[in-house]
Every structure is written in C-alpha cells, then in structure tokens.
Subunit: 357 residues, 2 copies
C-alpha cells in the first residue's frame, strides 16, 4: 500500500501556506501560559491517561458529561482508535467520496475494505450511504467535508445514522467554522460518535490534540484500544486552556468567516466555481481551464495551495482561509498568473493527494 | 477483552511513587528551554511528520544514520506501529513470559495470537523462543525485561534473531540503565528493530516520546502505518534537547546505579530474592512470606510499589529506583512493617497486572 501523504510542510524558507487548513492566527495566549505551568510542574511523571482536566472543561463547553469524552493525540489518533475498535480484517468501512483520504488509508492498514459512496452533485448523500451491507462495521462522515467544505444538516445525519447498521463517526474537524454541529445527536443515537480537532479552529496543529464525544458505554470500549498515555501533559494543559477561552474562539471564527467570504467572492469573480464553504477553506474548480498549472505556478512563487485530483470525479484547488494580508498576496499573484495568455501546462511528477492537511 | 491497565497514577495527594519506573530526577534543564522556544516559534503549524531535528541529533548520539530512526508518541506508539505493520488477524506475535503485558494487549487488539514463551529460571530464553511456527509474524523481546530487570546479551539476541523467521523487536526502554545495548545488531540483521523510550532514562514520561532504530527499508514501511503527525512540535523539541545532553544522562545513570545497589542490597538483607537488575527497578520475591499484603500496607502509608502476580509463574514486588531520600523512607516503613508479628493478609480486589509502568 502507498500510505497516506499529508500536505506539504516545508520546514525551511518562507511560504504563504494556504494548503493544510491551519489557523492563520496564533492560539489563545492562555495556551502558552498553561504550557509554561505544565513544564514547571514537571515532566518526569506519566500524564493522566484520560486527560480529566480537559474532559471536565470541555464537557462544560459542549454541554455533555466528562465521561462522554475520549481524548486523542490529534484527531487522526481518534480516527485510528475508532477504526481499530470496530473494523476487522476483510470487514467494511464506509466513507463518502471524495473526502478525507486518510479514511481509506486507515481501512487499508487494517486490512479492511473501504466502501466509497460518491456524493451527489449537490454534495448531499443519498440512500446508498445508509444502506445495509454484509460486514459493514463503521461509517465515516466528514462534516463539514474536505475538500468541498460543504455540510450535511443534523436532521439528515440523524436519518443516515438511524438507518445504518453500524456506528457512524461524524468527523467535525472543521465544525467550528460551520453554522451547526451534530454533537447533540450523540444523546439521541448511541451509534453516533462525533470527533473534533484542536488543530484548526483553536490554532493548535503543532500540539496534536483531538477528542471524540460518544455515549459512555462506547467510550469505555474505545479506551481499551488507545495507547495508555496517548496525550502528553503539555498537550493536555494547552488544549484545556484553549477550549477554556471561548472568547478567543468566537473572535477567531468571525475573522475566518470574513476572509472566507472575500476568498469565495474573489475566486468567483475570477471565474472559478466555489462550493459554499462551512470550513476554513474553499474548494475551487474551473470549467474551462486546467487548475494544476495554477497550483504549480503559485508554488513557484512560494504560495502553497492544495491541488487535488480525484479519479472519476475531477480536480480542483483547495485553498485555506489565511489572514487578509495573505489573501491579498494570493490574489495579487493569482490575478497576474491568470492574465497571462495561458498558464503553462506542466506534467507534474507530484500526484497531489487529498487530505485534511 | 480487558484492555491494558497501566500502573496507578494518583492525580491527587502526596505519594512516594516507586511503581511506574519514572525517573526520580528532573530532566535536563535544556528541555524546558527548548520547549519555551518551540512555543514561541508557534503552534499553529503541523509538526515535522518525521521529526528530522530529533533524528539528526539522535543519529549522532547513537552512531547510525537519521533515516534509520522512526519517532513515536512514546514507545507504546512505536510498539503499536510495529504490531500493526507486521501482524494480521489470526497471526502470531511471540513474547517472553513474564514480560510487559502490553504486548499481549496489542496482539488482542489486532485480533492476533500472543504466543508466550516462558523464561528459563535464570531469565534466559531457550530454543523455544526462536523456533519457527506457522503464521509467526513478529517477536517482542524486552531487554532489559520487566518485571525482572534482567538482560540477555547481544550475542544471544543475535542468535535468536538469526533463527527467527520474522522481525524481532528488541524493546530497550530501560537500556540506558544496562551495561550493553543491541543497537549495533541492527546493521547486522535486517530483521532486528530496536525501540527506545525517553520516559525513563531522560525523565520525560510526561512528554511522550520514543523511537526505533531499524534499517531504512524497514523504516520506510513502518512510516506508512504511523499517524502522519504522531509527534507534536513540543515533544520533538524537548526530546531533541534531552538526547543532546549526554552529560546529564551520564550523571543521572550513575545516581540510579548507586541507589539501585542500595535498594538491591537492602532488600536482600530483609530476606527478599532480588533479580540482578539492569534497569531502574528491582524485582523482589520472597520464598516464605506473601508479598501482596506488603504492597497493600505500603500503599496505606502512601508508598506505591507495583505488586505483580503472574499465573503459573508467581508474584513479586517491582520497586522503582527513586531518590536516596525516597529509598530511605521506603526502607523505614518496610522495616517497621516486617518487624510486626505478621503482615495482615487481605484479600485484595485489585488484580495487579504487569506493565512497564
């Protein structure tokens, strides 16, 4: 198997990075204070295996009980735990297409079968996603989805879950940039698991912290599968401080919303089709010109966006919402590129892959 | 399945913790400076997926090339990655008995069969450990072993690996407290993988960082199985600073050695059998009195040691090497306990389990 290939993370040089959906703004200042305190408290002891300090605070914010929360080393760890818990070799894991390619990689690592159900043209999911199927053990539903940034309403998600014969993980990595969440559905259907990430909306991609919300009997089973000490003391302290600062989150959201609107409108003005985004990125396709050369020429000018090409679906550019200054610089370069007679079509060796980042 | 149960980690109250093999001394002061710098550099970006800064520095220290190193979120993550990479459902994972119980848990999570080979009475492993067997896919060899603290010589390990039909992971979590390591064997036999932990000898249990050393073609395969960003920016920075400070390590080792000798001699003086330890703990059994009540009464006096009971093998106390002050306090309480006419034998509900911690 090929393994999952994450987005480019240049470790040197100055790029405008609009390719991996990180937050363009620094996290809450409370995070660095909390980390400082955690370091002073010492690192010689093992961390709390279940991160109770985080669970207590997150439970208050989310309106659930602490024992409805399981913490992970990034939401990738959460997805891994859930896959290992439910899907055996030769069994099936269902996911929409196109979506986060890691889901398929996780199925492959597990020796399981990834059953991809194509989105409808309006980015909804029809009956095929909720149909029963032999050996179907788990469904993954990214909501908002990547690369499209589109969302399925809680009513529709509940209807899917009610019909599915297996647990449904609703991956809400981007939900803080959306108008609604499915977290309240967890109480309504014990098969629904909601996962969250601190990487995007809380600006903590470097800290690795994610969590899921599920009914306590589910949490108890999943805990057996995770590494005992999957979250370190510093990540627990930082994530707790971050989720405690909801004022910071609200301000950050608003800034992202404002810039997302600029980015969406600007791309449409330049002739791109842009899916209505409920995330911190926009998915741009073009009916009359190839987009891969645009990605390449932007990269040559040290602006990274994500080029994605889905077999039997099509390709496009997934552009993260940056600061207004980054967006200005991006549009300045893009406008110049597009005004040239034609953008060179190069045969790239890069086979860009989809991904959350 | 039951899931792995780690050692007690009381989150409140003051205990003398001699139960989970943490280092009694604070890590190198370079660690907190490096963490501070990493926080200042920012947490909004994803970390380096392969932790090159750590690999570069560790390679120099260990005398290998950077591409011989794979980093993990603690060495539990390393063990999980290797298990998932090599062992499929219904296949076999071989391990000595008694040893680190997590190995068996990992096999169970994978739907695999844990094939336990008993140690000889002198804690060596005979021919049965290296015999071929249908569907045998991986061997785990903790060296030094837990709970015994004993070690198998590199010559004997190489002989085992040469005969085994599958990869052999030599788990060197405690090797910095031993007289020799198997790291040089990796170049001699491509089936040998050596794993290391920063939790014990570098005093960083709270940071979660481990790594393995293997030949590059093996690393390449294992990288496909790990979570893309399994190590966070702060852990990478802290672990790099720690491994860079070999002076700190040498001083720390020496202190542990000195106290381990005191602990070993003292326990023998009190009538215990103590295995010759090459780790930062000692394994104590007693031929004429039950040890579980001793564990319980020590705990009642806020001193935690690890009581372990292995079916068909026997039980004992695994006592971590603490500071000299902790060791004084431990002996003071223990001596008083033992001088009582008899220690009460209580039927404990706790079924203490083995474990690294």
């Amino acid at each position: 198997m090929a393994g999952y290939v994450p987005g480019e993370q240049p470790q040197a040089g100055k790029f405008i990075k609009l390719n991996t959906n990180e937050n363009p703004y620094s996290p809450s200042p409370a995070v660095s204070r909390a980390i400082d305190d955690a370091v002073k408290a010492g690192l010689v002891r093992y961390p709390d295996p279940v991160a109770n300090s985080f669970r207590t605070r997150a439970a208050e914010v989310l309106g659930v009980e602490p024992d409805w929360i399981l913490c992970g080393n990034g939401s990738d760890d959460i997805l891994t735990i859930v896959t290992r818990a439910f899907v055996g070799q030769g069994q099936k894991l269902r996911l929409p297409y196109p979506s986060y390619i890691l889901y398929k990689t996780l199925a492959q690592i597990q020796g399981a079968i990834a059953e991809e159900i194509p989105f409808q043209s309006d980015w909804s999911l029809g009956q095929p996603f909720s149909n029963g199927s032999a050996d179907l053990r788990l469904g993954f539903l990214p909501n908002p989805n990547s690369p499209s940034g589109t969302i399925i309403s809680p009513d529709d998600v509940l209807a899917l879950a009610d019909q599915l014969p297996c647990p449904l993980l609703v991956d809400e990595a981007y939900v803080d940039f959306a108008d609604y969440s499915c977290i309240e559905l967890v109480a309504e259907n014990e098969k629904i698991i909601v996962s969250r990430s601190m990487s995007k909306s809380y600006g903590l991609a470097g800290l690795r912290f994610g969590f899921l919300v599920a009914q306590p009997q589910m949490i108890e089973q999943l805990q057996k599968v995770k590494d005992s000490y999957n979250c370190d003391s510093i990540a627990i302290a930082g994530a707790t401080a971050a989720i405690n600062d909801q004022t910071w989150l609200a301000e950050n959201r608003q800034r992202i919303f404002d810039t997302r609107k600029r980015l969406t409108d600007g791309m449409r003005d330049l002739g791109f089709d842009v899916a209505p985004s409920q995330a911190n990125f926009v998915w741009c396709t073009h009916t009359s010109r190839p987009v891969q050369p645009i990605y390449e020429q932007l990269k040559a000018q040290r602006i990274l966006v994500r080029y994605m090409n889905y077999p039997d679906w099509g390709d496009g550019l997934r552009i993260s919402v940056g600061t207004d200054e980054q967006t200005d610089a991006f549009f300045a370069v893009l406008t110049t590129l597009l005004s040239k007679k034609d953008v060179d079509v190069k045969n790239s060796q890069d086979r860009a892959k989809d991904g959350r980042n």
